[in-house]
Symmetry: C2
Subunit: 405 residues, 2 copies
């Protein structure tokens, strides 16, 4: 009897639990004698002997398909180099005690690194283990895979919210607000901000300016561009990536200013941009920072994203049971319109700690919008709705009963 371990890592998404559902159901289908153990808060649960025994869970695993966040808790934790033999001996002793031979780690680039280290350390120590990473990140910055489960849902949220807020400011601009700034996530890559372009269509422009980490901030071009928007439309909607950078490469949002008590001013990008616009153009503004709201918004998840998340979970089990290790199921697009995709296999050594940013060809010439090829890439990822059940006016989001071993 070979058992399985699954854990979640890094920032969570609205569909990471769908991947959990996929891998758990598939492992049980492939070998129903395998027990499935789950780390409480990722790899930390393994290290601290906080491991859930899923056999003890009474509620239906179907709940995972509607639950945002990490159902089992996540972590930000970097493993030591594999030359730290003492550390890995302890870790593998813990795995061995439960006869864990399948190891699934659900996360982004850092988590791919964790999984790769476990795989390599296992080989070094002669421990028979199939370590498979399952892709997940709203940042969409993993290499090799066409896109990352979690991203499509954020993209759908951002495109929808941008369109809604744009209709709002359009109503108000005659006598009041003329600029709306919407700050979204994305420290190093602008995929999320870029997805706001999907709010636009042939008839109407809802988003006028998109600020990407890939395009150094040109204050003059930005201000005159917004001025033109206001002249043309009466208002301007700006979607900005939190990772926007100055010309010298420093973070735009990192003001370094201190308040009266000497504390660093934690302003954020949106209020800083608002301040700039207010002082330069003398216009009334509103701004929004969606932060966790965007990545947990299961109520408006993308069906395509949901399908991806399920498929990578299921394929991870297949890969482990076919003897693979140090790999990750990746999404390969075979056609954009209509969208077709399949799951392939990527090597973790080619994925771990690498980052995919927006290619130049996806960015418009002026740097403030997304090109047609960028739209063609993004559009399929937000298609379809898969609303959760509601109870008492809010999504039910019932949680599993979890029991430690």
């Amino acid at each position: 009897m070979k058992n399985a371990f699954y854990a979640q890592s890094g920032g969570v998404t609205s569909v990471i639990n769908v991947s959990a559902y996929g891998v758990i159901k598939k492992v049980r289908a492939l070998d129903n004698s395998s027990k499935i153990f789950v780390g409480n808060n990722g790899i930390v649960g393994l290290l601290e002997d906080e491991i859930f025994d899923l056999d003890k869970t009474k509620k239906s695993l179907e709940l995972l398909k509607e639950l945002p966040g990490g159902a089992f808790g996540s972590c930000r934790y970097k493993l030591p180099e594999i030359t730290e033999t003492d550390f890995y001996e302890v870790l593998f002793k813990k795995l061995d005690k439960k006869n864990i031979r399948y190891f699934f780690y659900n996360g982004g680039n850092d988590s791919a690194d964790t999984c790769l280290k476990i795989s390599l350390a296992g080989k070094r120590l002669g421990y028979d283990l199939n370590a498979i990473a399952i892709p997940k990140t709203i940042d969409n910055d993993l290499v090799l895979t066409d896109n990352c489960p979690g991203f499509g849902s954020v993209a759908k949220y951002v495109a929808t919210s941008s369109k809604e807020a744009s209709l709002d400011i359009k109503s108000m601009c005659k006598t009041s607000t003329k600029v709306f700034i919407f700050e979204v996530m994305g420290r190093h890559a602008g995929w999320i901000a870029a997805s706001s372009e999907l709010a636009n269509n042939e008839q109407s422009t809802f988003v006028h300016k998109i600020l990407l980490p890939e395009v150094p901030f040109d204050e003059y071009a930005f201000l005159s561009g917004v001025e033109n928007d206001i002249a043309k439309y009466g208002y301007s909607v700006i979607v900005a990536s939190e990772g926007l950078k100055n010309q010298d490469g420093s973070l735009f949002s990192n003001s370094g200013e201190k308040d009266a008590f000497g504390h660093i001013q934690l302003g954020g990008l949106a209020p800083k941009l608002a301040n700039l616009l207010s002082n330069s153009l003398k216009v009334k503004y509103h701004w929004s920072v969606s932060d966790y709201l965007q990545r947990s918004a299961r109520h408006i998840s993308s069906k395509v994203d949901f399908d991806h998340a399920l498929a990578v979970g299921e394929h991870a089990a297949d890969l482990a049971f076919s003897g693979e290790t140090g790999v990750m199921p990746i999404i390969k697009r075979t056609n954009s319109n209509p969208y077709k995709w399949e799951i392939k296999k990527g090597m973790l050594q080619d994925i771990a700690n690498k980052e995919k940013t927006l290619p130049d060809s996806y960015i418009s010439e002026d740097g403030f919008r997304i090109s047609e090829s960028g739209v063609n890439y993004l559009k399929p990822l937000i298609q379809g709705e898969i609303f959760p059940k509601f109870k008492n006016g809010v999504p039910s989001y019932d949680q599993l009963d979890l029991h430690l071993c």
Copy 2:
């Protein structure tokens, strides 16, 4: 042939256009010889001769039922006192030119004031006019009416988003973020922040602290309360009203600090609270400001709120055609569980420029949560879903074709 004028005013909502649909359809049903004129950007359209002729609109009015924001544009504009005879003579000449005898103004307290002035000025000038205000405000602060169309949908958005973000931080708190601050609208009344209590249920607490304008900020009680939440749950979710006040009555968010260039620092409440928590408790935080996103989120509007918005629109037409003036259709609750309501009539002189804040009985003893009677009041208003149609992955939100007279 007596014609009708309709216009939208003040901050818009996700269902204000449903009221527009209600009044327009009902006027046509009551007298299909009546023409319906609509102000472009509220009363400003009337004053500037920018008036839409709805007979020229080709697209279906059904689109109004799914479109957030103000379909005809809104405004913030205060009319002069009715003793300013010159002003009102010009205004009524404009109405008379189009033989407008039914006047509908869709807005909040300021708009009720506008409508009351028009009604009184009409009487003074001997102009036969039925001026009816139609309630709308996400702030839920109109007196007499049980609740205000627009509020229930924001409440549903805030309760849903709070629950989602809480599941997110719950996953992250072991090794990372321990505090999440969600800033919502509400300058003077805490109804919107209060609605986050609806995220909670008997099994789980998703929102731990609610900061209301009605409860002066007690820094010590707040900090020790959040510290307790972190000790008990591992994290704390705080929903804060933008109108939170200090003990001396000043706005908490109004820092008055200036940046290096002497510009007023536009920090916002959420980052300021985050700063306070970070400095005092030394914990990692995240914060969100949903701003326009919350009030334009038609994708998660409340069905009950939608029904209210439709009903007040229809009843406004009934009131006008039955000879009333200076009144507003109001919602009267006849039962909370199951929720039952009917439409009654309120006098604008009792409504204009007044404000309803949260009663003490709706606030928990410690001032940081909502009481059972508060929940009983709020809960019915977020019930039911009425999703818009989606196209290409985002809500369609098709706009009407509008044509000036």
